[in-house]
Amino acid sequence: MHVMALVMQAAEEGSQQAKNPILPATNEIIWGTLAFLVLLIGMWKFAFPAVTKAMNERTERIRSNLDSAENLKGEAQQILDEYQRQLADAKSEANRIIEEARQTAEALRRDLMQRAEAEVAELRQRSAEDVAAAQERALNDLRARISTLVISAAEKVVERNLDRETNTALVESFINSVGATSV
């Protein structure tokens, strides 16, 4: 109550004195207000639209950046998926190739084994045949030698023992046998 009374008193004293320490002079207020209005209008007219535009553009840019970031992320995901798929493919391909190689090697091994076995069998048979042929040859050779020896011996015996009488008998027998046949 005491304070209020003091403020009222001060106000009264100020108006009376026309010298208020807070309020500026009236003309200053008018000029200030005018200047403010002019600035406000200028701002309204020129600065605001530019700022708004800039703000909008910025917003738009950020959105588009966000969008493109989103897109990029999606693309990255796609590429990652693609890579993973290719990796999986490559792995299965590698497995397939390894399996194929294993099978080929197995087939080759089996084939080689079979061939080697066949060769061994053939060699064995051929050597058996060679041995048999050599035996046969030796036997034939021996037989030929023996026959030559025997025949030569027989020739000598016949030459010595074939007398005229026997010879005549042989001729007679030839005549009889030839006369009885016709060629």
Partner: protein, 174 residues
């Protein structure tokens, strides 16, 4: 070549006929041919250009003169003299074949180890004629290599009844 042999054979045949001793000459010439065939050295000698013709003819006359008739020796000597010694066997074979053909016969070449007597020759000729169906003119050669028995050749047909052949057969059987 063959024509020349034919011509010589025909000429010799005519000479032998003219001399009236065809059969003897034919037989003797046949023996000469077989002797030459069996004796390469002799054939080489009588055809050797390095030896003078007179010398070669002398060899022939020495060799056959005592055993064959004069006409046979002369004919062989003549052929050697004109340098036909190498063709002698062929010419003689042709002559013998021609002579046989004129008698409507075929030559039968017979090899035996021992000489045949007249009766054996006749019976052998008859037997061969019967076997081959041709009249044969027998030419006998004594060839010890047959050992025993007879080898007969009539044309392309050979009938081998020799001991040598039997031994060969025996050898084949081994």
């Amino acid at each position: 070549m063959s024509d020349r042999i034919d011509a010589y054979a025909a000429a010799l045949l005519e000479i032998a006929k003219a001399e009236g001793s065809l059969e003897t000459v034919e037989d003797e010439l046949f023996k000469v041919a077989r002797t030459l065939e069996a004796n390469d050295q002799l054939l080489v000698t009588i055809t050797d250009q390095a030896i003078p013709i007179e010398r070669r003819q002398g060899i022939v006359e020495d060799l056959f003169g005592g055993k064959a008739s004069k006409i046979t020796t002369s004919l062989v000597s003549f052929l050697v003299g004109i340098g036909r010694g190498r063709d002698l066997p062929a010419i003689i074979d042709k002559l013998v074949a021609e002579a046989a053909e004129e008698r409507h016969q075929t030559v039968a070449e017979v090899r035996t180890a021992v000489p045949l007597d007249e009766g054996q020759r006749d019976r052998l000729a008859a037997a061969l004629s019967n076997a081959t169906g041709k009249h044969v003119s027998l030419k006998v050669i004594v060839d010890p290599t047959v050992l025993g028995g007879v080898v007969a050749r009539v044309g392309d047909t050979v009938i081998d009844g020799s001991v040598r052949h039997r031994l060969e057969q025996l050898r084949q059987q081994f």
